[in-house]
Amino acid sequence: MNTSVKKSWTAFQRSPLADVSLFLCIVAGLTWLTAHGTSQLGYNWQWYRVPQYLFSLEDSRIIAGPLLKGLMVTFRITAVSLVLCFAFGLLTALMRLSDSFLAKALARAYVELIRNTPLLVQLLFIYFVLGPILDIGRFTAAVLALSLFEGAYASEIFRAGIVSIHHGQWEAAYSLGLKTFDMYRYIILPQAIRRILPPLTGQAVSLIKDSALVSTIAVYDLTMRGQEIIAETYLAFEIWFAVAAIYLVVTVTLSVVVNIMESRFKVAA
């Protein structure tokens, strides 16, 4: 009797059910701690005041509240930046892998410069220094800073993916007489991209999170809107929780969607 109880307990300990239960216990514990801690401060949680900043109903039409409006701006910035980031990244990777000394040097300089300075500083530099010189507005400055920054990291990911392709693939393509562009387009990149989809997704998630920094140059994204609401209502706790939750939902959805895409297009590499 004792051994069978012991066996069931061991089985339970190893099961996913045990993991989830443990996780929920920890989350419940942390939540209680937060609630208890804030009530000691005498803080009065006013969650009921948050939804109006998400959306409001007027004549049975849904009107986006400031938080959702901010989210739309965040989406616009990240969408454009993502495309540019991958473009810069791929171009830079190809330049680093080319035979041209100039291309290699330029690419290297770009990556080293970007990776050794903070994004915030780059953003402020582009807006306050390059902005007046090139006559670009804050949205363009924001997109430029984000895509250049994430592009440098993306280029290392692309490079790693390309280099990981077995050199026999290059040799076979070479022996068939393919020119370099065709080699990349039809043989190397299709295989490389499939391999680097996970880190590239991570890069996209980074970009979404880093986009919060554009609030420092007064772009009315999600973070900026959050600050705006708190300035009026002092609902710092509730609003920041809500803003963080929105970012979380966006990035997790992105990751899930990419994972589904990956398994649909799975071909043995």
Partner: protein, 249 residues
């Protein structure tokens, strides 16, 4: 007839190659290969036979000497190099099929991109070649679903699709399980009998005996001895040739 025999398709003149790690792979190596000739290259590992083969289509750069293929010099001129790559087909020990493309697409790709054929014409030619190597039914499958012997046959078809003047085989059967070596060798023998110029690096002595015109024994980046298969295997003149042949026969 005499004009063809005296007109070598491959002219290798005193080529040398040293790798970055200091290994001298080829030393003053010279050879001529005639049209329609089947040349088999044997030798111990490290003798430079693969390096020699890879120099022929430009996969490896030579340090000294010259290579001329079908009248085209293998030099710095990009156009010359491209021409040579198109005229010389290569089959690798590790097949190197493109895993993300079907068998048919593998064979079609270079025809469409390099020979500028239309997809329909390419597909017809590809199916013809797949029939020739014995696996037309596998056209729509992916390489990772095929056996090693089947993959290598697809690789041969893919190289043949470019209608090359010379075919290079770099230990084409060395990575295959014994029961699949035969099917690949059969394809190679058919090619030889049809008059393709072939340079074959191999350990398969039976193949050499059956279809080769000449066998060359290499060691330390040099040709030690050359002759017909009969001469090399039964009556080698050099001691080093004798040592090697006795080990593998």
């Amino acid at each position: 007839m005499k004009a063809t025999v005296e007109n070598p398709i491959i002219l290798v003149d005193r080529i040398s190659k040293t790798f970055a790690n200091g290994v001298e792979a080829l030393r003053d190596f010279s050879i001529r290969v005639l049209r329609r000739e089947v040349l088999v290259v044997i030798g111990p590992s490290g003798s430079g036979k693969s390096t020699f083969l890879r120099c022929l289509n430009g996969l490896e750069e030579i340090d000294r000497g010259s290579i001329v293929i079908d009248g085209i010099p293998l030099d710095d001129d990009k156009k010359n190099r491209l021409e040579i790559r198109k005229e010389v087909g290569m089959v690798f020990q590790s097949f190197n099929l493109f895993p993300h493309l079907t068998v048919l697409d593998n064979v079609n790709l270079a025809q469409v991109l390099v020979r500028k054929k239309r997809k329909k014409a390419a597909t017809e030619a590809s199916m013809e070649l797949l029939r020739k190597v014995g696996i037309p039914e596998k056209a729509r499958t992916f390489p990772n679903h095929l056996s090693g012997g089947q993959q290598q046959r697809v690789a041969i078809a893919r190289a043949l699709a470019m209608k090359p003047k010379v075919m290079l085989f770099d230990e084409a059967t060395s990575a295959l399980d014994p029961e699949m070596i035969g099917e690949v060798l059969d394809v190679m023998k058919t090619l030889a009998r049809e008059g393709m110029t072939m340079v074959v690096v191999t350990h398969e002595m039976g193949f050499a005996r059956e279809v080769s015109d000449r066998v060359v024994f290499m060691e330390d980046g040099r040709i030690i001895e050359e002759g017909t298969a009969e001469q090399i295997f039964t009556n080698p003149k050099q001691e080093r040739t004798r040592d090697f042949v006795s080990q593998i026969l």
